[in-house]
């Protein structure tokens, strides 16, 4: 039996367009016959290496204003509910990302990740405090306190750091990013369809 092609979905919990991608990738991947590997990571260190100490949407205000309006429009077009901006942006996503890194091979990774995104961008809640992350886990029927404790161990912190180095070494500079088995990189929620088509073996017309 042929192995299904896979596509890596690199996402950052503080990223608005990662939210859009996370909410729609499962249905699209199913239709395309592509397996998704969810890869949580921290964009902060990558932005810092580019000389940014915040989101470019904060550093360049006109770009930021457009992003929030575009997010509203795109969320509506994609059939998601209204967007609610979190009080602080970008949110500190360390605790949530550590948790997702710890949950990489767990059944709860995807529902947890989607719950974090919805808390942040559909309900505008803080996801920055460990307690907020713990409550999200609890609501999924998990033991939040125990998982956060386990996610704080050194092995998991190292894993998170190594993932970040992998992201940078594979050319990732923003989120979401989609990486195919053959190393093709697609950046942004706007390229999800193209990334899935590529992963499934399609190549655009005249491409060399």
């Amino acid at each position: 039996m042929a192995r299904r092609p896979t596509l890596e979905f690199w996402y950052e919990f503080a990223s608005t367009y990662s939210y859009l991608a996370a909410m729609r990738i499962e249905a699209l991947a199913e239709a395309a016959g592509v397996e998704i590997r969810w890869r949580p990571f921290l964009l902060g260190p990558i932005f810092a290496a580019q000389g940014w100490n915040s989101s470019p949407f904060n550093i360049y205000p006109t770009k930021g204003r457009n992003m929030w309006r575009d997010l509203e429009r795109e969320a509506a077009r994609l059939g998601l509910g209204p967007v609610t901006r979190p009080a602080s942006f970008p949110q500190n996503s360390l605790s949530a990302t550590r948790t997702a890194t710890y949950g990489a091979d767990q059944d709860w990774l995807i529902p947890f990740s989607k719950s974090v995104f919805e808390a942040s961008f559909a309900r505008g809640q803080s996801i920055a405090e460990p307690n907020a992350v713990s409550q999200i886990l609890d609501r999924l029927g998990l033991d939040g306190v125990q998982i956060l404790k386990a996610a704080s161990n050194e092995a998991n912190k190292t894993r998170l750091r190594v993932n970040g180095e992998e992201a940078r070494s594979r050319g990732i500079f923003g989120a979401p990013t989609f990486l195919t088995d053959d190393g093709e990189l697609f950046w942004g929620n706007d390229r999800l369809e193209q990334a899935l088509a590529w992963a499934g073996g399609e190549r655009p017309g005249s491409l060399r």
Copy 2:
């Protein structure tokens, strides 16, 4: 008879994604029943105001590498021929933009603009020298030398500068940008379809 809705298409000749938009906007606008107003402008002063002295695709090399690959893929997907990178990027687009500004109300504005984009990104030719611009006009059956001379007059230079101030005051921070009659701004070739739908009166589902 109802007036057709209009959409302003703000484009910069040095911009790769403006190229993609320019090559496909006519057919899409026709299908959508929307009138396009072609608005050439210079992005340089706007980038300079953001502290950039070059294209962000040069300032951030990983972003730049992705952009060129993405441009190849998207050009192929959209049915355009292969992309050929000009030797220098971004090209100095002053002469071409002055010419297009002078041609704002002329029949040749659109064929001229598309010819400049094709020279730059399909054939990888220089469009920076007045002579290159003049030859493009000649090949359209126009008098290149005469038009370039007329485009260099003070009134036209002022018009170009005023257009740039209009771009900035209306929130433009990149190219291509689409602006609707009711002031909705859409940035990027990826939003052309959404901009046309908005101009035609459609509103995404749950949008406030």
